[in-house]
Amino acid sequence: MANVNVKPLEAVFWLCTLLPFVLAPNYLSLASQIAITALFALSLDLILGYAGIVSLGHAAFFGTGAYAAGLLAKHYWTEPLSGLLIAALSAGLTGYAMSHIVVRFRHLALIMLTLGLGLLVHEAANSASALTGGADGLQGFRVPSVLGFGFDLYGRTAYAYALVVLFLCFLISRRIIHSPFGLALRGIRENATRMPAIGAPSRAHLRKVYTIAALMAGIAGALLTHTTSTVSLEVLSFGRSADVLVILILGGAGRLYGGIIGAIVYMVARDQFSGINPQYWYFWIGLLLVAVVLFLPNGILGGLSRFSRRRT
């Protein structure tokens, strides 16, 4: 089977993701959070970086996956891999349903619709407290192990679990990008007007990628539930949608690795700053956003590739 060239730099990168086990064993729970966020950002990249859909409500799928996994675990179904699958399906179905609305709009109407749909899901979960626990979220359950490996206090299993799932989803994303479908998505992003003129069913393509992205976001949400044994209403919040957008832009959209790089930088920085006044955090992120838009429009990866092009 013809496979895409794995560049040596990529191999090095993925090997480095194993380093935290050895070099930073006290930070493994942070590392698994980073992996989960990276997966969430990767799912957003599929629709934003490759298909050009600006979504301010992507957390709806993350949260759906998280709640699905939580509800299963709370009702004594604690096997995580099947839980992951079911959570992915729930998020995917939600994404598929919403995609019929979303793909019909552009520009401000699209942004507002994704925002509104995300807020709707958040409010619905808030109100349906009998099912979701409302503002308190879901607690009182525990996912004890995955494939026989118990979730330990150091977070070793959690990080391994999140990392493997991230890697698998990354490989799938990569295949999508390098397939005819990936080319069609880029065509939609580059010039949505031209696509129907070459016989392309743009809306069908967009519905498909939106569903795939929702599936992946749902998997990320379920991972969060499994590794933290809790679901809070915050997983559906606008804050989460905004955060993942910032992370993806920071790393560089449309470059497959942008979400991962952005997640690493953002969450390490937040971890370091969290000790200090939270106001500082908002200030620096704001400044960073302004700086990225003005000086680094393609994020960190964009800046790096411009830099390397200048040197050759």
């Binding site: 109407a109 507002m112 619709l113 925002l115 749909l117 109100s127 106001q279 992120i285 704001g286 302004v290």
Partner: protein, 287 residues
């Protein structure tokens, strides 16, 4: 039953006037320059905190602080437009969103740093507190005040839009920027002044809002959603559209809180999604 309905309508209309003041600037600048300014509510905060400072530190009377709130917010708008915004007129929607969100974050941090994160209060004069008795129902004086101010400003806006040269230039620039330029209209200057006016009105709205919804540094994000809903539903560039959308939103919100409290904000978002699906360009939108 009827009196509670009247009460809901009254409160809702007053809230709608507040939302209109907060949103009208954004709809005009969005319609004119297609510039997505998510930091619009930060100007509202500027107005609000101006009022707070002037009243609590300098002892100014409430009504006197209102023009000050308007002017301060307006000046800051011009400053921001000249330094940052004009670089991004041709940038993508996403870039504009991100830059202005960045400014929102900075403004939240700045106000939290200077004023702290607690709710601010501004004691309105005694003649604006209490209520009026009319036809057996009582109407809160401050809400009446909001309605009066809202309608007055709407009137001034409509009159100046239709009957002044500046208004004509604004209408031309919103309708067709290229043609307006071709006619010799200085679109950049028109935009800067409109931006200042819109920011100033947001500042006024922020000052007026303290008594109704309070003021803390997260105001810029919290009310952004409502303002965006008003603008998107009303239609970009349409003052009448925002007026209608703001009133509908205000009344729906009050009705929701009163009759369906368990729904929470769900009703508002559902109404917005449904309206946008029916009319993606807004109720009165042109583009």
């Amino acid at each position: 039953m009827l009196s509670s309905l009247a009460g809901v309508l009254f409160d809702g209309f007053a809230y709608g006037m507040l939302l209109f003041l907060l949103s009208v600037g954004l709809t005009v600048t969005l319609g004119m320059m297609n510039f997505v300014n998510l930091a619009h509510c930060s100007f509202a905060m500027v107005g609000g905190y101006t009022t707070v400072s002037l009243m609590n530190q300098l002892g100014w009377p409430f009504l006197a602080t209102l023009p000050a709130a308007f002017i301060t917010a307006g000046i800051l708008s011009i400053f921001l437009e000249r330094t940052l915004y004009r670089r991004l007129y041709r940038a993508s929607d996403l870039d504009q969103c991100l830059l202005t969100i960045g400014i929102v974050f900075i403004s939240i941090a700045a106000f939290a740093w200077f004023y702290g994160t607690e709710q601010q209060s501004a004691r309105v004069p005694s003649y604006l507190r209490g209520s009026l008795e009319l036809m057996g129902m009582s109407f809160a004086a401050y809400r009446l005040f909001l309605i009066v101010v809202g309608l007055a400003i709407t009137g001034i806006l409509i009159v100046s839009l239709e009957h002044t040269r500046f208004g004509a230039r604004v209408r031309a620039a919103v309708d067709n920027q290229r043609m307006a330029r071709g006619l010799g209209i200085d679109v950049e200057r028109t935009f800067m002044l409109t931006f200042a006016l819109g920011g100033g009105l947001a500042g006024l709205g922020g000052a007026l809002a303290i008594e109704v919804v309070g003021l803390d540094p997260t105001f810029a994000l919290g009310y952004l959603v409502y303002v965006l809903i008003v603008v998107a539903v009303g239609g970009l560039g349409s003052i009448g559209g925002s007026f209608a959308a703001a009133v509908v939103l205000g009344i729906s919100d009050m009705a929701g809180k009163y009759y369906f409290p368990w729904l929470g904000a769900f009703l508002i978002y559902l109404v917005m999604v449904a309206l946008l699906m029916w009319r993606p360009l807004g109720l009165f939108g042109k583009r």
